[in-house]
Symmetry: C2
Subunit: 347 residues, 2 copies
C-alpha cells in the first residue's frame, strides 16, 4: 500500500550515477550528456518517479503555491473568481491554496497565518477586514498581496476590482429615468469598501438628479455568517425582512439592491403584498447571477466579471513575483448594466 516514494537517489542507485546527475538530467540542463539525459528520463518514468516539491521548495525558496482568500464560495461572484484564479494558476503551473474566510475576521486571520506557514509565494484576497494589520503579516515578509473587489488603501498593494460607486450611481440614474421618485438602497450590513462605495454611489446618484436623502433610504440586511457557507442566505433573508418591512410601511417606487439574491427575495415579498414588479416597484440587483435573466420579470442587474477578477488577480500576483519593484497597479474591470423587465417602467 503505502510504498515509499521513488527519490532521485533511487534512480541514481539503479543507474549507477550520482543523485546530482539525475537531478540535472531531469532538469534538462545543458551540462549533461544527451545520452545520460535519455537514460535518466527513461529510468525515472520506469520507476514512476514523482519530484518532491516540498524538498525542491525548501532549496529554491519558493513553493510554487498561491494563496486565494475568499469570503464565500456560495456567492456566484466568488465562485467565478475561484474559477478564474484556478485557471490562471494552472496555466502558470502554480498550485492554488484556498482559504474560505466566511466573512469572519478571526477565520481570515487564521487563514493568513496558515498561508504564511505554508510559504505561499503570493496571495490574492477578498478581505473581510479593513484593518490592514493582519495583511501586513504577509507584506511584511515580502509576500506579494493582491486585493480583489475590496481595496484597503492603507496597504498600497496591487488591486483589481470594479467601480461600485459609478455602477450604483448609474443605476440610480436609470431608475430615476424610469420615473422613480422614492428610492431605497438594500445592502448587506457588512462594513466593507464595496458596500460603502455602492452606498456612496447611491447618494451621489440621488444628488445628481436633484434628489436628496429624504427620498433615498438605506435598508441594511444582517449578514448571516454561519449559514452563508452552506447555502446563500440572502434571498430568504431579504424576503423575510421585506415581509416585516412592508407590513409597517409602503414600499418605495424603486429598490436598488446590492446583489441579485436580495432582488429575488424582495420581489417575492412584494408580490405577497399585492405589489407588482415593475408596475408598482422597480427592482434592480448587482452581480447578474445566472438565473436573473430567466426570472419573470427578468432582473435588471450589473454584470460583475468574477472570472476576470480572479484571473486578473492571479496574473497581477504572478507578475509581481517576477518583478517585485514595479509600481503598484490598480486595475478596474468593466461592469455592464443589463436592463431587464424588473426595472423598466411600463407606463
Amino acid at each position: 500500500m503505502a510504498q515509499r516514494r521513488i527519490t532521485l537517489k533511487d534512480i541514481a542507485a539503479s543507474l549507477g550515477v550520482s543523485a546530482n546527475t539525475v537531478s540535472r538530467a531531469l532538469a534538462g540542463r545543458s551540462d549533461i550528456s544527451v545520452a545520460t539525459q535519455e537514460r535518466v528520463r527513461k529510468e525515472a518514468s520506469r520507476l514512476g518517479y514523482v519530484p518532491n516539491s516540498l524538498a525542491r521548495s525548501l532549496v529554491s525558496g519558493n513553493s510554487g503555491t498561491i494563496g486565494v482568500v475568499i469570503t464565500n464560495p456560495s456567492n456566484p461572484l466568488y465562485s467565478q473568481l475561484i474559477a478564474g484564479a484556478a485557471e490562471a494558476a494552472r496555466e502558470a503551473g502554480k498550485t492554488l491554496i484556498l482559504i474560505v474566510s466566511a466573512e469572519d475576521a478571526k477565520t481570515e486571520n487564521d487563514g493568513i497565518e496558515s498561508l504564511l506557514v505554508s510559504s505561499v509565494d503570493a496571495v490574492i484576497a477578498v478581505p473581510v477586514q479593513i484593518d490592514p494589520g493582519p495583511w501586513r503579516r504577509l507584506t511584511g515578509v515580502g509576500v506579494p498581496l493582491v486585493l480583489v473587489n475590496r481595496d484597503i488603501p492603507q496597504l498600497a498593494v496591487d488591486f483589481v476590482g470594479v467601480d461600485h460607486f459609478a455602477s450604483m450611481q448609474r443605476m440610480v440614474e436609470h431608475v430615476v429615468a424610469q420615473g422613480a421618485e422614492s428610492i431605497w438602497a438594500v445592502e448587506e450590513d457588512l462594513d466593507v469598501p464595496s458596500v460603502a462605495s455602492r452606498l456612496e454611489g447611491f447618494y451621489q446618484g440621488l444628488a445628481d438628479v436633484g434628489m436628496s436623502r429624504p427620498v433615498g433610504k438605506e435598508i441594511r440586511i444582517p449578514t448571516r455568517r454561519v449559514r452563508s457557507l452552506a447555502q446563500p442566505w440572502q434571498a430568504e433573508e431579504a424576503y423575510a425582512v421585506g415581509l416585516e418591512l412592508f407590513k409597517l410601511e409602503e414600499p418605495p417606487d424603486a429598490m436598488v439592491c446590492g446583489n441579485d439574491f436580495f432582488a429575488l427575495g424582495l420581489v417575492k415579498a412584494l408580490q405577497e403584498y399585492g405589489y407588482r414588479v415593475p408596475e408598482d416597484v422597480l427592482i434592480t440587483g448587482v452581480g447578474d447571477h445566472p438565473y436573473s435573466h430567466f426570472m419573470s420579470p427578468a432582473i435588471t442587474s450589473i454584470r460583475l466579471p468574477g472570472y476576470e477578477l480572479g484571473a486578473e488577480g492571479m496574473r497581477l500576483a504572478l507578475s509581481r513575483l517576477r518583478d517585485t519593484q514595479q509600481p503598484k497597479r490598480r486595475k478596474m474591470v468593466e461592469t455592464e448594466h443589463i436592463i431587464r423587465g424588473s426595472s423598466v417602467s411600463s407606463t
Copy 2:
C-alpha cells in the same frame, strides 16, 4: 521588503541555546523546562517567528495538505462542496489545495499529477473520468482518495454521494402522480455515473408505473466545457436547445431535468412558444439552486446537500489518514424532494 524569514536557528542564536531546544520548546514537549519554554516562546513571538511547514513536512513525511478536485465552481453543488470541505479542513488544521478540472480529463490528469508533486496527504475528488488509471497514481503511492458524488467502483475507495437513481425514480413517480403521460429526461451529455444513475432511475420510474420507453425520451444537452468556468452555461443552452426542439415537435407533458439550470432555460423556451408551466408542461430540476424557490412558478427540485458532501468527504479522508486499514466506506447523504409550483398539476 523581502527580509529573510526568522528560523529556529535565529531564535536559538538570539537566546544562546540550540535550535533543537527551540524546536522542542515550541512543540511544547514535556522534556524541556517550563522556564525555557516560556523564554523561547516569548523570543519567537518577539522576532515574529513563523514555522516553515515545508521543512517540517519534509521531515515528518506528511504535508498537512488535502487536495480537493472539483469540476466547476460555478455549479452551486460544487461551490457548496468547496465550502464544506474548506470548513472541515480548517477545523482539522489542514490546508486545502484546490484543483478545478473543468470537466476535462486532461486537466484532471494534470491536476492529479500536481497533487502528487505537492505531496498532499489525501485527496477528495469529483471525478471527470471513469477510467480509474489516473486515480491509481494516487492510491498506488498510498494517498487516500475519497470520491464524491460520482463513484468509480473499480477503485474501491471511500465514497460519499447521493442516490441519484432513487431520487430520479421518485421524481418520475411524482410527475406521473400529477398526471404526466409523456415524460422527457433532460441531462448533460456527460458520461459520468451521476447522470447515468439518474437516467436509470428515470427508466425505472417509468417501468414502475407500467410505462415504457416510448413515453420516455432522453434529451442530452452538450456540455460546454470552456465557457462553463466563466459562467454557468446550462440555462442558456437549455433555452437554445428548447427553442430548436419545440420548433420541431410538441413538448411532452413533463420534463425532468438533471439540474435546475436546465429547468430555468426550458421554462423560458416553453413560454416563448405559448406553453404554460405547470398547466401544459410539468418541469422539475435537481440541485435546489438558491433561486429555485423564488421563481414563478417556483421550481420543483431535489435538494443535494453539497456542503455536507464536501464536509463529509473531508472527514472520511481525515479518518482514513488516521487509520489506513479500516474497511472502505460508502456513505450516502440524504436528498429531499421539494415539490413546488412547476410540477404541481393545476387540474
